[in-house]
């Protein structure tokens, strides 16, 4: 196409304007694409949160335990499929190696930088509720058969370099979970993992061990921190939860039962609002930039009325002239759009692949953050349409104008 260099000439000679127009367009498309992607991710997260897992805890505080006897009573509530005892152990690696009992009771030698989540659970009941946690069958078998056995999340294993068969000691900072003879000793029986693509936000840095081991170790009844339960139908979460709480209404330990997602859900609602707000502001900004950009492009065309008149005089047809001017605006649109889409893709890819940030996002349930082809296409389409529009309107007036009228006004 021999006219193409002609189009480029204008863009090259007015490179400051060209650059700023393209950048403005790119920023706008970038904003649009990124915001659309975030919002759609939040949307899908909201849709996906069905709650079939509930947690029953003491109504006063998490630091109060519930009676062990509640287990069978909760099991009897219609709609409840399974119940598992859990205790948040609060153990940490003792600063002192190979845990000899400390001479001074309660001496806090906890090294908090090595702290991780660890829970005593009723493994046979607990793990079936969490199909997203995968453990090799032989390791699972070993865990069940080992009194001191524990399973650790893949990330935790990585952090401490633990392998199956490794042993370590944990001591809880909660006095009732301590034993006189010193820290609890554990053996890594298995390492669990989760398909984070399928189950975004799944925690793979907790250690689970046997409830019975803890109970035997401290040598007395320790109660239950929280009951994890699974219900048959996610839609009944509220009613089942109410039924359970009603059961213990008049007992000494009243309960609160809420969905495992409850906290998450409230966070999501907040995130949803935030996304909506961001989207609103972002769209307003993007729209403003669009208008300014369109105006700049239109002005660039209007400035060239004389040139259009000259081209027509030289024998270029109106269609030719129209092609030059619209082609130029279109090119700006395509460049800006492509740049914006590329920027958005880069950012979203970077966020979802950068170590550290990925985990934070996953923690918020945003692990599937990506630029969807439809969104990218929409961004490009808007940029191109805008370029076309911004170039077309003023070009049309030049197209229609008579040469004599254009050149008269010189």
């Amino acid at each position: 196409m021999k006219y193409l260099p002609f189009v480029f000439k204008h863009l090259r000679r007015n490179w400051v304007r060209t650059t700023s127009t393209v950048v403005a367009m790119a920023v706008c498309i970038f904003l649009l694409c990124t915001l659309r992607s975030v919002l759609s991710e939040v949307d899908s997260m909201l849709e996906a949160s069905s709650a079939t897992r509930l947690v029953t805890r003491h109504s006063v505080s998490l630091t109060f335990n519930l009676p062990v006897a509640y287990e069978s009573r909760i099991e009897s509530v219609p709609g409840v499929k399974a119940v598992a005892k859990t205790i948040w152990f609060g153990g940490s690696l003792p600063a002192k190696k190979e845990g000899q009992a400390d001479e001074t009771e309660g001496d806090s030698t906890t090294d908090w930088s090595k702290f991780f989540n660890n829970m005593a659970v009723d493994a046979d009941k607990f793990f079936p509720m969490y199909p997203e946690l995968t453990i090799p069958p032989d390791q699972w078998k070993a865990f069940r058969e080992t009194r001191q056995g524990c399973v650790i999340g893949s990330k935790l294993a990585k952090k401490f370099g633990w392998k199956v068969g490794d042993r370590f000691f944990l001591e809880s900072f909660i006095p009732p979970y301590r034993k006189r003879s010193g820290p609890f000793e554990f053996e890594v029986s298995g390492i669990y993992d989760a398909d984070l693509a399928k189950y975004p936000g799944t925690d793979v840095s907790t250690m689970y061990f046997h409830y019975e081991y803890l109970k035997e170790g401290v040598g007395r009844e320790i109660g239950v921190g929280t009951y994890a339960l699974e219900i048959a139908n996610g839609d009944q979460a509220a009613s089942v939860g109410k039924a359970i709480d009603a059961l213990f209404e008049n007992s000494s330990a009243t309960t609160i039962t809420e969905t495992e997602q409850a906290f998450k859900a409230s966070f999501i609602a907040m995130a949803g609002n935030l996304a909506f707000l961001l989207n609103g502001i972002g769209l307003a900004v993007a729209f403003t930039i669009l208008l300014v950009t369109a105006n700049t492009m239109s002005m660039a065309v209007r400035e060239r009325r004389t040139e259009i008149g000259v081209l027509k005089t030289l024998g270029f047809s109106s269609a030719h002239v129209m092609g030059f001017v619209v082609g130029e605006a279109l090119l700006l649109g395509v460049l800006g759009g492509a740049l914006g889409v590329f920027g958005s893709e880069t950012l979203l890819y970077g966020l979802s692949h950068a170590p550290g940030i990925t985990e934070i996002l996953a923690g918020m349930g945003l692990s599937g953050l990506e630029l969807k082809p439809a969104v990218a296409a929409l961004g490009l389409f808007i940029a191109v349409a805008l370029g076309l529009f911004a170039g077309f309107v003023p070009a049309l007036s030049a197209y229609r104008a008579k040469i004599t009228d254009i050149l008269r006004t010189v």
């Binding site: 007015n14 004389t306 004599t404």
Partner: protein, 225 residues
Amino acid sequence: MSTMVSVQEVTKVYKRGSEELKVLDSLSLDVPEGEFVALMGPSGSGKTTLLNLIAGIDQPTSGAVVVGGRNIAVLSEGELAKWRSHSVGFIFQFYNLIPVLSAVENVELPLLLTKLSKKERRERALTALKVVGLADRSSHYPRQLSGGQEQRVAIARAIVTDPQVLVADEPTGDLDAKSAEEILKLMETLNQEFKKTIVMVTHDPRAADRAHVQRHLEKGVLQLR
């Protein structure tokens, strides 16, 4: 000598709302091939209007404009554009070069409408620049050139397609005496050596003296002298 331009009983009326302004009134003018005509007359007498009709960038209300044996008064807009691209060269008072294009690119512009290859186009454009004496300025941009040089580039652009007719609307109107003199000399050369038929509108009596024939326009009517 055959007639190159023949304006026959041409009337041009501009409508401004309900008001009608008759700029040219049954005007007839013949320009023989190879002639160099100067059109003079007071401002508003219709010189530019007549020139535009001859150059095919405007059409008469009635009458015929025959250029090179073809009545261009009956052509459609598209046909006219095509006709202009190879039949007339334009020289404007304000040069009207395209600022983002270099001298040689400006000259090459009309050739984009031909089937010539890129190389041929460039060669022809350089030849035209050589004719106007600006071969050494081919890569300069308009704003790097003086007014006289700009006008010479414009002349190169006008002759690059080798049209039979050149029209010029006050080509020296914006130039100092020395530059004007150069432009007029160049136009004389084009007329005498390259056998171009030239119709030039001018206010400048010295410019008019260069032409073979002077015609005076007064209120849309040619004066006999």
